[in-house]
Amino acid sequence: MNAPSTLPAIELVRQTLHEQLGLDPASLAPETELAAVGVDSLTLAELLFSLEDRLGTTMADVATLPRSIGDLVALVEPHLTQLAAAAAT
């Protein structure tokens, strides 16, 4: 797998969902509802945990739980930007 900071956020989300839940990355569009692909409250917690691991950061202060792939991408994106900035210095 590529280092997270070089991946677009949606690819990181797709890869994580593929590895964790066996979902076909090509079937995951920004508007895809998480519930529709079998992500419930428990698996969402594990998914966020796994994304945090890959990013080496925490998203503990998530105000609203993500409901779609797009929501997850929006959560991940700022952290990728930070990682890229840190890697550049």
Partner: protein, 418 residues
């Protein structure tokens, strides 16, 4: 005298997950042919790694049975349980059960270590990898009743959902208590059994410290390391797997046209009240007698005993002494085998896998041998040890399956030919 049909409880489905794969037949055929699943295996990752002789479900793949999102929330012993239970439900035709009956279906499950491997992963994250936190699924992966809870969800069972933890007697107790629940009318169908995953590193170290695990010399065949009742036995071999029995009252089974594999005729439970780890023949004999009395059977009706026979130095002679005490002079003609020589000791699941073996022996009228027994220990003499090849014919309509646990908890199941 035979009990009325609404008091008799029968086995209408079997689901077995063992090192030989998923299915009762593949399991029983392996036993009849003396195929051993015992090998030397490594557990853990260096520097926290150990080797031991064990039997494990190396090729187990739950993916055809369960979606990944569900597997994520299941410890390995739960995954084994789920496949066993789904397979048993299929065997019994539970998919056609009306919704109202489903609400009166129960799950009674046994496990010894439960989610120990998941818990150990969490501890490793915290204490070894120095991570500041553990997976959010840690609690649900580690909970002791995870298997029963998942089975209830998978089967849509709305009746009692209970977990029994009595070490090596867990699954036998779950199956025996199911008999009581069905006789009392508390539920109409029970999926009962047990599951145990392979020991994680910490548990292996604990069992090694207890000095009850089998060892072999470098020149010996690991596959023959488990030798119940043999002069050269050196200890038990941990096993891995699951088995589920679908149980219901005979009248209920007949009404829905379910196949009747055998009758679960009796259950006896007792406590040694003697010692935490040293078994007592008198305590075991109480459970054996209680099972026979519960079945309304005389000792001479018993044509086979699937023994607990773990191959520990202290345990084996005590079990034979208990059989001699109960069967008296007839013990010498009582066919006895411990199949742990091939599948190892499944701890909390042992009673379920061995109950399945006992049902299959009654059904097929053939006795699986104790493949590890070559030179009977004189201290274990006095019964008719079934060793060498499988033995055709089961005289008498009753077969017993015994489980005697650390802590002095004993459970004996009596099955009758259908």
């Amino acid at each position: 005298m035979t009990a009325p049909d609404d008091r008799r409880v029968v086995v209408t489905g079997l689901g077995v997950v063992t090192p030989w794969g998923v299915g009762a037949d593949v399991f029983f055929d392996a036993l009849l042919h003396g195929r051993s699943a015992v090998a030397r295996r490594s557990v853990g990752e260096p520097p926290y790694a150990a080797t031991l002789l064990s039997a494990a479900c190396d090729g187990f793949d739950p993916a055809p049975w369960l979606e990944l999102s569900r597997l994520l929330t299941m410890d390995r012993h739960v995954q084994l349980a789920a496949v066993a239970a789904l397979s048993a439900a299929q065997d019994a035709g539970l998919d056609t059960l009306p919704a109202a009956t489903r609400e009166r279906a129960a799950v009674l499950w046994g496990t010894g270590a439960g989610g120990a491997a998941s818990n150990e992963r969490g501890y490793r994250d915290l204490f070894v990898r120095q991570r500041p936190r553990v997976s959010p699924l840690s609690v649900v992966l580690g909970m002791q009743h995870g298997a029963a809870a998942h089975l209830g969800l998978l089967l849509g069972a709305g009746g009692p959902c209970l977990t029994y933890a009595l070490a090596c007697a867990s699954a036998s107790t779950a199956i025996g208590e199911a008999l009581h629940k069905l006789r009392s009318g508390a539920c109409d169908v029970v999926v009962a059994g047990g599951s145990e995953a392979a020991m994680p590193f910490g548990a292996v170290k604990a069992w090694q410290s207890l000095q009850v695990l089998a060892e072999t010399g470098a020149a010996d065949d690991p596959a023959r390391a488990c030798r119940p009742f043999d002069r050269r036995r050196s200890g038990l071999v941990p096993g891995e797997g699951a088995a589920a029995l679908v149980l219901e009252r005979l009248d209920h089974a007949r009404r829905r046209g379910a196949p009747v594999l055998a009758e679960l005729a009796g259950y006896g439970a007792s406590a040694d009240h003697h010692h935490l780890t040293t078994p007592l023949a008198a305590g075991q004999a109480r459970a054996l007698r209680a099972a026979l009395a519960d079945a309304g059977a005389a000792a001479d009706e018993v044509g086979y005993v699937n023994a607990h026979g773990t191959a520990t130095l202290d345990g084996d002679p005590v079990e034979i002494a208990a059989l001699r005490e109960v069967f008296g002079s007839a013990a010498a003609r009582l066919p006895v085998s411990s199949t742990k020589s091939l599948h190892g000791h499944l701890m909390g699941a042992a009673g379920a896998v061995e109950a399945a073996c006992t049902v299959l022996a009654l059904q097929r009228q053939v006795l699986p041998p104790n493949a590890g027994l070559e030179e009977p220990d004189p201290a274990c003499a006095g019964v008719d040890h079934v060793c060498g090849d499988a033995r055709d014919g089961l005289h008498g309509g009753l077969a017993l399956s015994s489980s005697f646990a650390f802590g002095g908890s004993n459970a004996v199941l009596a099955f009758r030919r259908a």
